[in-house]
Amino acid sequence: MEPLPATARSLRRNTGDAALNSSNEPGPTTSADDALWSAIGDPTRRRLLDLLLADNGGTATSLGRQLPVTRQAVAKHLGVLDRTGLVRSSSAGRERRYQVDEVQLARAVAQLSAVRSAWETRLQRIRRIAETIQQTSDSDLLRHDQSD
């Protein structure tokens, strides 16, 4: 499991004005963060998580005020995040209040790094197989040369 605190810290690092600018992705993040956000799939949802972590939760209205999208769009994105389990909601008057589920967030990070490490393992196997074949054909050639 990736340690969650690093992820949460890097998110918080990017909660300045840049994160609220609709024309730019949030500032520098680690590639692990990037992969996680890609799996989540959408820059608006990424900013929502960012804001939720920074403000320790929020509603569609409070989040909508900080983003260049409508409250309805925010509510829809929150619904997507809710279904993936990345946020949890609770009743807060007439609205729902959302918070990041840090355990799920940590799991998502860990799973993405698992996909990466699976490829790492496959590539090492590719290397071993190819090098074994190369050595085999080299020694065949050598034996052939010696028998001449």
Binding site: T30, S31, A32, D34, A35, W37, S38, A39, I40, G41, D42, R83, T84, G85, L86, Q104, R107, A108, Q111, L112, A114, V115, R116, A118, W119, E120, T121, R122, L123, Q124, R125, I126, R127, R128, I129, A130, E131, T132, I133, Q134, Q135, T136, S137, S139, D140
Partner: protein, 156 residues
């Protein structure tokens, strides 16, 4: 861990074998199933569609669609996988894996990229399932790796 763009897994490694050999290993079904799935059924030609099999599909394993996109020996081999069977592989319904081979110092620099995670909009449940399938594939495969390498070595 320095991937070029979001939604891409990118790896590079040096192999002490000629590009022709590495190309065979990454593209031919008989080799593919020695480093990844338990079985691989496809023709290694562009447009060919088949499947790769993890575990026993009749019990808890899975057959996954596999379509060859590009095959230029010994430079490039790419394929799409994980599209729903019966659907044509395209951006948005599958992951694209590309192997690029460059001759280097008598060996081969192999670069692998896997893209499509963003386009597929993968959510956590799917990722987890995929991860479990990967683990299962490796569990089936690992015990067979050593004997396979041994057979290659005894041919020396």
């Amino acid at each position: 861990m320095d991937d070029a763009e979001p939604g891409t897994i990118e790896r590079e490694l040096y192999i002490e074998a000629a590009p022709e050999i590495v190309f065979d290993v990454v593209s031919k079904p008989e080799h593919l199933k020695e480093w990844w799935p338990d079985d691989a059924k496809y023709e290694p030609t562009p447009g060919s569609t088949g499947e790769i099999v993890f575990g026993d599909p009749t019990t808890d394993g899975a057959a996954v669609a596999f379509t060859v996109v590009e095959s230029v020996a010994p430079q490039t081999f790419s394929f799409r996988w994980t599209h729903p069977s019966g659907e044509v592989a395209a951006e948005g319904n599958s992951l694209l894996v590309t192997f690029e081979l460059t001759p280097r110092d008598g060996g081969t620099l192999l670069r692998m990229t896997e893209t499509g995670f963003r386009q597929m909009g993968w959510e956590i449940a799917v990722l987890e399932q995929q991860y479990q399938e990967h683990i299962q594939g490796w569990n089936h495969f690992l015990p067979r790796l050593a004997p396979y390498v041994a057979t290659l070595e005894t041919r020396r």
